[in-house]
């Protein structure tokens, strides 16, 4: 069983749109949408949800107003400015935890002289197992304001792996998160192959370099494709030159295609909506490269 992760470095390069098309072309796979901060893949795959579970990570402090005597020790000790004073003419001064600012460190809970602070499991988001027209999908979303630690990404991958093993799928296709932080690391470690979808801009180039560094660090073989390449041929060529210099293989260039938006509105991937377009053909060719890399050698690493 192989795992292909699609990342981008910079957000907005078209990674999710490309993944949707790859999903329409691939066979016998489980899809894992690990772009949990702002998940979009479900918008073009129309999943039918079978199971949804809350995602719990860390804790949240909450002061019981009836037990609070207003001493303010919690506010003094809180390192994250997450405790506010509440002045009520009838009940006097009490304190309240701002739940968006609360880091869940437990210091206020420990130091409250009245034990007036509850410390509960924090629901940070949810994950679901769904079926789509292209195959099963595990996806998740973080609640707004949550910490994006990578734990939910790891959970999505674990569930996708369990499902793949259970039902005999031989590929896990991962829509990775943008950026280069923890969530991206959590999506890349242990993968067999990474595809970086970039765009011909200076920020795209800069961020591509950093996500390739991350893949190198974890010894994940990487391939690159340049989306909307015709927006700037000069930068496209520069990206290709820099990739060649560092030994990263560029396996395709996808031209800008206005029909992508219409495909999104129709809830379809581009290869389904406009299979004869140049962009769809470019993506199909990229898929064949990837398929070849995934099947030609049992261990791609190194």
């Amino acid at each position: 069983m192989m795992e292909l992760v699609v990342c981008s470095g910079k957000g907005g390069t078209g990674k999710t749109s490309v993944v949707a098309s790859l999903a329409a072309l691939a066979h016998n796979f489980v899809l894992a949408d690990c772009d949990v901060d702002a998940a979009n893949l479900h918008l073009v795959l129309e999943p039918m949800t079978e199971v949804t579970q809350p995602f719990i990570a860390g804790h949240l402090a909450s002061i019981r107003p009836e037990d609070c005597r207003g001493c303010g020790v919690c506010r003094v000790k809180c390192h994250f400015s997450a405790i506010e004073r509440v002045n009520d003419p009838e009940t006097g001064t009490t304190y309240r935890v701002n739940q968006t600012a609360c880091e869940g460190c437990g210091v206020c809970v420990h130091f409250c002289p009245r034990d007036a602070i509850d410390f509960e499991d924090r629901r940070c988001g949810q994950w679901s197992l769904s079926s789509t027209r292209v195959g099963p999908m595990v996806h998740a979303s973080l609640d707004v304001g949550a910490e994006n630690s990578g734990k939910l990404v790891s959970l999505v991958r674990t569930k996708a792996r369990e499902l793949a093993v259970e039902s005999g799928h031989d590929l896990i296709l991962v829509d990775g998160p943008p950026g280069i932080g923890c969530p991206v690391t959590a999506s890349l470690t242990g993968a067999d192959l990474a595809l970086m979808v970039t765009e011909p801009s200076l920020s795209g180039l800069h961020d591509l370099g950093r996500v390739l560094d991350l893949a190198d660090h974890f010894q994940i073989p990487a391939r690159v494709c340049i989306n909307k390449y015709d927006f700037n041929i000069r930068l496209t060529e520069r990206i290709e030159a820099e990739c060649a210099a560092r030994g990263a293989r560029v396996i395709g260039r996808i031209p800008y295609e206005p029909l992508v938006n219409d495909a999104q509105i129709a809830g379809r991937s581009l290869v389904e909506f406009a299979p004869d377009s140049d962009a769809a053909q470019a993506i199909t060719s990229i898929w064949h490269h990837l398929e070849h890399s995934l099947t030609e050698s049992p261990t791609l690493k190194g």
Binding site: I56, G58, D121, G150, K151, S154, T158, T185, T189
Partner: protein, 119 residues
């Protein structure tokens, strides 16, 4: 002595889990009494990060003197090593198979971490 085996299920006949920090279960085998007791490792882990650290501390607190697993990340390794717990990798098959391999000295003892960190 007590040894800890990382497992995908609660029984000694269940398959081993290659991960330490995020393993589904930690099975404690008492070599003298020849018993197996399962700890739900996933239930012990609440924090968003540092799964390896937490799992390792739990293992030490539970009295394990050796850990049998697939891969061990750097932080878990540091905690176990500081507590004098030996770490063995390369387990396959079921929990009972892993214990057998350890008894026959077939497992590799780790002198450093060999896994990527658990998130």
């Amino acid at each position: 002595m007590k040894i800890l085996i990382t497992a995908q299920g609660q029984n000694s006949t269940d398959a081993v889990d290659q991960r330490f920090g995020r393993a589904s279960y930690h099975i404690i085998h008492d070599t003298e009494a020849d018993t197996y007791a399962a700890i739900d490792n996933a239930a012990q882990l609440n924090a968003a990060q540092g799964a390896g650290v937490q799992a390792a501390q739990n293992a030490v607190a539970g009295g394990a003197e050796a850990v049998l697993t697939g891969h061990c990340g750097p932080k878990a390794f540091d905690v176990l090593a500081a507590a004098g717990v030996s770490i063995y990798s390369g387990i396959t098959g079921t929990v009972v198979d892993a214990v057998g391999a350890w008894k026959r000295d077939e497992l590799e003892q780790l002198s450093g971490p060999d896994g990527t960190p658990s998130h």
